[in-house]
């Protein structure tokens, strides 16, 4: 006869275990399938019933990505490719790697610049008592109310007038405007949880506002800073619409655009597309996993030791 207390504990353990497994399956399942698919050939992928795990894992798809050269696409080469049975490379496959580089570059710039801009503005709004502080915050947050689609055409015209089409500058600046409101919000919440006495002590000790930011607020707000960096990088890695419109030629395009091109091309080999997806997923996932702890505590305002 199991003691009631033990029984409750077992019951709780079983319940937690059950839901945990469910959660893992839900969250990781689709991605696992994506990875598995990328390691199979088209023939294996289109088998019915499908191979859950690759029967003989192959890196052929990835080789194709990393080694693709521009193939002359003629009627012949296309006809040779039966998407269901052989590997067929979509035209433009060679653009994947360069676009990867573009995405990285843009992402890094956005993350860094975002940090510089957001931290200074967040400090001012959170800490300095000045007239118009509320209004400034609302103005910043309100810019995100208009859907991006509405902004595309005028933005494109502006960018074109400035001769900045196909430049990283245009993308970076656009993404900055897109990410700043959220990161400012996170940073402000975090700054506000830092005890006011610490600010007073620093100012009286001899810190100008910039010095106070540097010596007191930044060191204590590390989680929020990391969360902001992550968010800025991931958002620009992810971003699609603006990149679609602001970059016209393949040299400047970012990863999502190139991948979407594959998907639209209905003769594409599925396993290849999945492989491309895996590549697109790796950097953000690695970053998120590495910095998970900071992301969560960065979103938690009010956990500061004072």
């Amino acid at each position: 006869m199991i003691a009631p207390r033990l029984r409750r504990r077992l019951g709780r353990g079983l319940l937690l275990g059950f839901f945990s497994v469910l959660l893992v399956a839900y969250v990781a399942g689709p991605v696992a399938w994506l990875v598995s698919s990328s390691l199979q050939t088209d023939a294996q992928i289109t088998a019915i019933p499908p191979n859950w795990l690759p029967p003989e894992p192959t890196l052929a798809n990835f080789e194709a990505i990393f080694g693709a050269k521009s193939e002359v696409v003629t009627y012949e080469t296309r006809r040779q490719g039966d998407p269901a049975t052989t590997r067929f490379l979509p035209s433009g496959a060679e653009n994947l790697l360069p676009s990867l580089a573009n995405s990285f570059s843009v992402g890094l710039w956005v993350a860094l610049l975002n940090l510089v801009l957001s931290v200074t503005a967040a400090y001012a709004i959170a800490v300095i008592p000045f007239r118009g502080r509320r209004g400034a915050l609302y103005a910043i947050l309100v810019t995100r109310v208009i859907p991006d689609i509405a902004l595309i055409v005028p933005l494109f015209l502006l960018v074109r007038a400035l001769g900045l089409v196909n430049t990283q500058t245009a993308l970076v600046t656009t993404y900055l405007a897109v990410t700043i409101p959220f990161t400012i919000f996170i940073l402000i919440s975090y700054f506000e949880s830092i005890p006011a006495d610490l600010y007073r002590a620093a100012r009286v000790d001899g810190c100008s506002h910039v010095a106070a930011l540097r010596h007191v607020y930044l060191p204590l707000a590390l989680p929020a800073v990391i969360a902001s960096l992550m968010f800025a990088f991931l958002t620009s890695w992810n971003e699609f619409i603006f990149a679609l419109i602001l970059t016209q030629n393949v040299a400047a395009q970012t990863l999502p655009i190139v991948i979407s091109g594959f998907v639209m091309d209905f003769t594409t080999s599925f396993s290849f597309v999945n492989a491309a997806g895996v590549i697109a997923i790796v950097p953000p996932v690695v970053l998120a996993m590495l910095f998970e702890r900071y992301i969560v505590s960065g979103l938690t305002a009010g956990a500061v030791k004072g």
Binding site: A150, I184, I259
Partner: protein, 297 residues
């Protein structure tokens, strides 16, 4: 007094620190917003760029009279409702689970970030592959579990389209919502639970009377945020269904895209954008009013 003699030290610093952000936002957000509004007042069609009469509210009137618009409204409403509801409920469940202490919890917390980190393009592509009518995982799985008799069409079935897309959206958005709720949950003082236990409340009652009320601000935040995002989802629709089949997934965002970039009716597209923006603004306003009664900030 002294104060009116120019700005004080604090104020000068504050504006200097905020200026760069403003500069970026004015260029990238403000100017396009204003220009967009301006455009919406004109009948601009790029196929006949020489004639651009001022129509004032003409575009808006045309839109409101267009049955296609109302279909788009219906699609958007259904989609947003489903997505927000599913995201919020799932997020709550996940947050509750992660709030408990058990071995492996840290790992699980890190793992749930997987969907959040997935680019929406990859998300769409991944689910599209899973939904594939001929080779997809969903069909295989359900067949194996005996829930369906043969391979069915998922995305291509107008009755199911919106829900399948919503599923992909929920999968990606749920982690962030769960984290936001978890963070709120962790702030609930332990003493409240202790008092409840002493009063004789069991786990379920504690959930109803302590957890839920204290979660209100987190709940509201998630609702507002999710609604604002879901209402304007575009990427998934572009990758997965392109508004189809037929107009099964013809949402407002899609309509804006079609009118602006396919029909090239810039004026109309701009007007539509503004309607969507107004709707988003109003909804957020409403939620924030309700939220404002729950908490101060």
């Amino acid at each position: 007094m002294q104060m009116f003699r120019g700005l004080s030290y604090d104020e000068r610093n504050a504006w200097l620190l905020v200026a760069p952000v403003f500069a970026v936002l004015v260029a990238v957000a403000l100017y396009p917003i204003a220009y967009s509004f301006y455009t919406s007042l004109y009948d601009i069609v790029l196929t006949r760029p020489w004639r651009r009469p001022f129509v004032g509210t003409g575009n808006y009137e045309r839109i409101l009279a267009d049955p296609q618009f109302w279909i788009a409204v219906q699609r958007t409403t259904v989609y947003t409702l489903v997505t927000v509801a599913a995201t919020t409920i799932l997020a709550l469940g996940v947050a509750l689970l992660l709030n408990e202490a058990f071995p492996g919890r840290r790992l699980l917390s890190a793992l749930i970030l997987l969907p959040w980190a997935t680019p929406s393009i990859v998300n769409g592509l991944m689910w599209k592959w899973i939904y594939d009518p001929s080779y997809g995982l969903l069909n295989a799985l359900l067949l194996k579990l005996g829930m369906i008799e043969r391979y069915t069409v998922w995305l291509g079935d107008p009755a199911k389209t919106l829900f399948m897309i919503a599923n992909a959206a929920v999968w990606k958005q749920m982690p962030l919502a769960a984290i936001l709720m978890l963070v709120t949950m962790k702030a609930i003082p332990a003493d409240l639970y202790r008092a409840a236990r002493v009063d004789g409340a069991n786990a379920f009652q504690r959930f109803i009377h302590v957890t839920l009320p204290a979660l209100k601000p987190g709940f509201m935040l998630v609702l507002v945020y999710e609604t604002m995002i879901s209402i304007r989802h575009f990427d998934l629709f572009l990758i997965m269904t392109q508004g189809g089949p037929g107009d099964a997934s013809y949402t407002l965002s899609w309509q804006i895209y079609v009118e602006t970039f396919r029909s090239l009716k810039f004026g109309l597209g701009a007007a539509l954008s503004y309607i969507l923006a107004m709707a988003t603004f109003l909804l957020s306003w409403m939620f924030i009013r309700m939220l404002g009664r729950g908490m101060e900030k």
